[in-house]
Symmetry: C2
Subunit: 380 residues, 2 copies
């Protein structure tokens, strides 16, 4: 594929067909959607309304509201015992804005970003659109579908300027442990390169406490978002934590590219760390965990293998090779036959993409159970 | 300057000094700010509040709410008698999002965008950050500080993929008449190139009816915004109108880069075209016109030449060469001496940049008059 070409997502075909089927009155169960089904917590929405009632609708600085950056620092201190200075934080239009910002900084034209295959596909496309190159390293259950220092070293070339890791990952939901991330950063430090860690699913970890690598090494850049754990998808707000020497230029790039993040979203996000909000989010996390457990268990019982139990996010990356050698065809047929929508592996890379599909548990337990019954019928 | 370098705005120095002075208790008159001093009209803010009360906080499609795209079409039909199909519109995170979107589409790496000098500086920097080249054509009062078909032809090279024109322009406030824009599009059509017209100040024209070139030729792309005329700066919403054959790829780029525009902003913007809103905006337009007239008149009386009376936006590009050959120094000294903040010409390009400064009339008539008195003292 040429550097500027971007492949259409196969799931767009699935979505288009869903719409047709729904227009014909069919009841489609949506397990393809990468967005929590929960509304934004009331506490956050109320802060948004308060901001609007106070006419807080002018631009903020490009770096973002100081009050919000300080609230983010406080959150890191409380939750992770990590000391971040508010000057190291830029509030961004979602994590996608944060990624574009850091890529504009790091990727001077035709350089290379190393990622895993499978991985979230937009990242790859953003790099291609900017004329950069992608080095996608095949990963499987042996490394928990994550990169590690050995894989990076084995696949190294000097055109690489940074490695991007998502933990928990989309589509696999697997976590990269902190000590492994630090090992990678160590290796990259010797190469004078950066480790970008996408922590947007950080709050959504189910079997143990979530971690961060923000502020732990001078060559680590962390991306995060109010979208997933905090339930603020449509507001478009996230943040980036970068070492001190990068901030001035990042701020200048932000001034030139997106000017500032939505003022209303920033004021609303001030409620994201309130105890009442966190209580609600933790309640939701337990619901997500329950959904994950049901989904993984049932898929395994049907002979759909889940090679690594996903520790976080809201995805299950499942091996359908017992039933099909063409995951896109499998998804199309499952939709036609039983009206269950899932995402084919080919949307996340090339490596073993035909063996895998992604289930998103962003719908209720009832709907998931219904979906599982339909899948069972489909496989019979 | 290297392609990836971005010059810091000189006005940032001015702003930093303003803050220091204000912290010391000095009363700074701000005429450097490119943001209307008015709050978002109540009708719009109320639609935002209603959206939040209805929990409309999930993602929209990348292309934007159909209802909003249809409202935009209806506005073009009513105001300009131009027929636009909602499928040709993408709602974007501000006009800056729209510009990035179209540049990602058009500029395959090292190609060139032709612009005027002076021009809005962010556009130049965005192209540089993407590894593209800028061909900045000096313009002066002879062409109303705008490009035209002759200037484009004289300066043509085959690396150019598109020409960007802003009408009304920042920093000069001058308008490029429709027939001239169509001539440029005609010329570019023969080269199989595009004309991008930035119409973000479209509603703010003072001496005659505003125009649009949207939908008039197959190689014209129009950028617009809810920020300036509609008073929605901090919401981050704009739009792009492009020919049919571009839409699918633009939509794919949007899906990959910013995912979607703020949902709350989109719902709020549905109120932008209501008669009550337009009444309020037209009231504001009259106030801007009055400010412009006072400012231009007084500057001329002081010997600060305004070579072309700005027909739109909220800027006056004024020639201070009678008093100084260094516009940045002039701005610094005016600030130190009289606490009036304005923007030096060097932020908008290189051509005659030392002769010019930009005044923004985004503050009240009283403050403008006070500012003018101080400037008079400064020049004495």
């Amino acid at each position: 594929m040429s550097e500027f070409e971007i492949a259409p997502f196969h799931v767009m075909d699935i979505l288009a067909r869903c719409k047709q089927m729904e227009a014909q009155g069919r009841d489609v169960i949506h397990m393809e959607i990468g967005e929590p089904d929960f509304d934004t917590p009331n506490t956050i929405t109320q802060f948004g309304i308060d901001a609007l009632n106070s006419n807080l609708t002018h631009y903020t600085s490009a770096q973002g509201l100081m009050e919000l950056r300080e609230a983010i620092c406080h959150y890191y201190q409380e939750k992770f015992s990590v000391n971040i200075n508010s000057e190291h934080i830029l509030v961004t239009p979602g994590a996608s804005g944060a990624l574009q910002l850091i890529l504009s900084y790091l990727m001077q034209g035709r350089q290379t970003l190393m990622i895993s295959d499978p991985a979230y596909p937009c990242n790859r496309n953003v790099v291609r659109l900017a004329g950069g190159k992608i080095l996608a390293i095949p990963v499987n259950e042996e490394s928990q579908f994550q990169l590690n220092a050995d894989l990076i070293a084995e696949n190294w070339n000097d055109d690489v300027v940074a490695v991007l890791v998502a933990s928990p990952s989309n589509p696999t939901g697997t976590v990269c442990p902190k000590h492994e991330l630090l090992e990678m950063a160590e290796f990259l430090d010797k190469k004078k390169c950066y480790l970008i860690v996408d922590e947007i699913y950080q709050g959504l970890i189910y079997d143990y406490e979530s971690e961060t690598v923000a502020g732990l090494k001078e060559n680590i850049i962390v991306l995060n978002s109010f979208s997933k754990y905090f339930g603020m998808t449509g507001w478009r707000a996230g943040w980036l934590i970068a070492p001190c020497h990068m901030i001035e230029r990042l701020d200048a790039i932000a001034q030139n590219t997106y000017l500032a993040t939505s003022t209303i979203a920033q004021h609303a996000a001030l409620a994201a760390f309130l105890p009442e909000t966190i209580n609600e989010l933790e309640r939701r996390r337990k619901i997500f965990k329950q959904r994950r457990d049901i989904l993984c268990q049932s898929l395994l019982e049907m002979g759909i293998n889940v090679p690594v139990v996903p520790q976080g996010a809201f995805y299950v990356y499942a091996d359908i090779s017992k039933y099909s050698q063409d995951s896109f065809k499998f998804c199309r047929e499952l939709l036609e036959d039983q009206a269950v929508a899932i995402t084919p592996g080919c949307d996340f890379g090339e490596y073993q993409a035909n063996k895998y599909v992604r289930f998103a548990y962003t719908t209720s337990e009832d709907r998931i159970n219904q979906g599982l019954q339909r899948i069972e019928k489909f496989l019979d």
